[in-house]
Amino acid sequence: MNPANPAVQTAARHGAFSMERAAEATLVIHLLGEWHLRRDLPSADEVAPELAGSPAIKRVIFETGELGGWDSGLVAFLVRVRELCHQRGIADDRSSLPHGVRRLLELAEAVPEKQGARGREERAGFFTRIGEAAIRHGENAAEGLGFVGDLTVATGGLLRGAARFRYVDLAQLIQDCGPSAVGIVTLISFLVGVILAFMGAVQLQQFGAAIYVADLVGIGMLREMGAMMTAIIMSGRTGAAFAAQIGTMKVTQEIDALTTMGISPFQFLVLPRMIALVLMMPLLCLYSDLMGIMGGAFVGVTMLDLSLTNYLRETIAAVTLTYLMIGVVKATVYGALIAIAGCMEGFRCGSSSSAVGDAATRAVVRSIVMVVVACGIFAFITNILNI
């Protein structure tokens, strides 16, 4: 009696159904064709309007004479039909279904849905979410403070000579944080020098003051860019690596193994990383300064027709030891911040492999943010101190 069920007409071989009202408030659902997951399956929701129609239906029966093959696609359809029937207090008669289908239906319905298992994921209201986010941020800040506290205690232990870590690990970390990063620091710093020089040259040439490019590049690299570029490189390179290493150790219970052996994971993992980065960052920064000046000189000599001697003499006249020290101090602080961010995110890592990736990402974001904020604070302080 349902004349236009398009699925029936278009492809008889595909799974399809048609509905027919038989006597005494009974709905017959004819199941036709091949009901396979890999083909298109009709939606059980199409049954809903028919169940809701009047006169009211009391019973649903299935007719399977033309049913071909089937798999769990059919079972899912039937489960949904039953749910729809239950909502309306309609009985569904399954006696005509194939034996295997009935078995699977019984299996699916053997264990009743656990109360409260669903709905925990319910979307909270707007204000609730803001409140929760605020609480989470508060907790993060507290955790950060706790981390710095632990670090202070561990450093105290180190100074008393009571810290437990392996010097082999420290040596390996120093290798990773220092010499191994030289290549990328060379490239980036040289290019930053080149960029600074070009930027200045366009303006300064108009006044015939191209030689001051040397001052610009020299001061810029020493005070700011050397430390900043090294910090950004090390955040991406080393901060992320720290977070991933520690996060993985957490996932594989290696950290638990340290704890239950009576070795503080904090001393064992964080201290050597901190030491390595704090030792290597100033050196890398100095190297970066040098490379940046080389980059500037390259532009000066090749594009601005300055002689290398003049360029370098101008640079030496422009920069002071104070500038150099400002850069080195900054680099040391940045190094500490990157190590803290990397290790902290590693320890906060959850216990799945995707959590390790998240931890690495958060470590990079956090360390770059902290470095830039610290840079702002430094600008403020140096301004006040007039240096």
Partner: protein, 270 residues
Amino acid sequence: MTDAGTNGHQLSDAEPHIVVRNLTMAYGSFVLMRDLNFTVRRGDIFIIMGGSGCGKSTLLRHLIGLKEPAAGEIFYGDVNFTRAGPGERERLLRRFGVLYQGGALWSSMTLVENVGMALSQFTDLVPDQIREIASLKLAFVGLKGFEDYYPSQISGGMQKRAGLARAIALDPEILFFDEPSAGLDPISSRLLDDLILELRASLGATVVVVTHELASIFTIGNNSVFLDADSRTMAASGDPKVLREKSANPTVRRFLTRGEPAMESSSSDA
């Protein structure tokens, strides 16, 4: 702080080694288990059993101090582990050996370094001696010759055995095993059981094992606690072989007989 007196000492029935009192385990406000009370005697092979997700491993984490109880206390001998200060706790921890589910070997170290770690941190032995002792422990678990391999270069079963070698590095008084047979084939799992028995006999250690492998439970266990996920507390404790026959609790009997009707028929309803 050596313990020559206690090591190598055999079953003496009465002496309790680990006492758990009114322990409640919770994640935040979600209570996982409450009112756990049991005693592990010195020299026991104590099984923590129960269905999946009922909190067996969490109980183990409480016993080894990786998680703090929401309520209740854990005693080791006369020492209250839950209330112990950091120094005392560390001294206790050094008498534990723990084998984690996946081995949890430190991946940046070779096997001999893994095993020798505790020795180099907590003893005054010179490196050559440490290596010698670590190799010996590896030999105990059948890994002679693999000293300089990294954990990633050996199979899962071997990693587990190496983890065991690390756990026994300091001749612990108590050995904890988290699902020792998980991921092992039946034969390796059987060999590991034999190894556990062997070590218990030779070290005189108390052993606590988290497992749901019936074969292991009956082969090695002489005492146990059963955690029931539905009632959120322990359903039984005692010798698992006795519990299988005599437990008053149908859930425990069903678990220990794999729910097979033939053995269960004497029991009850369905």
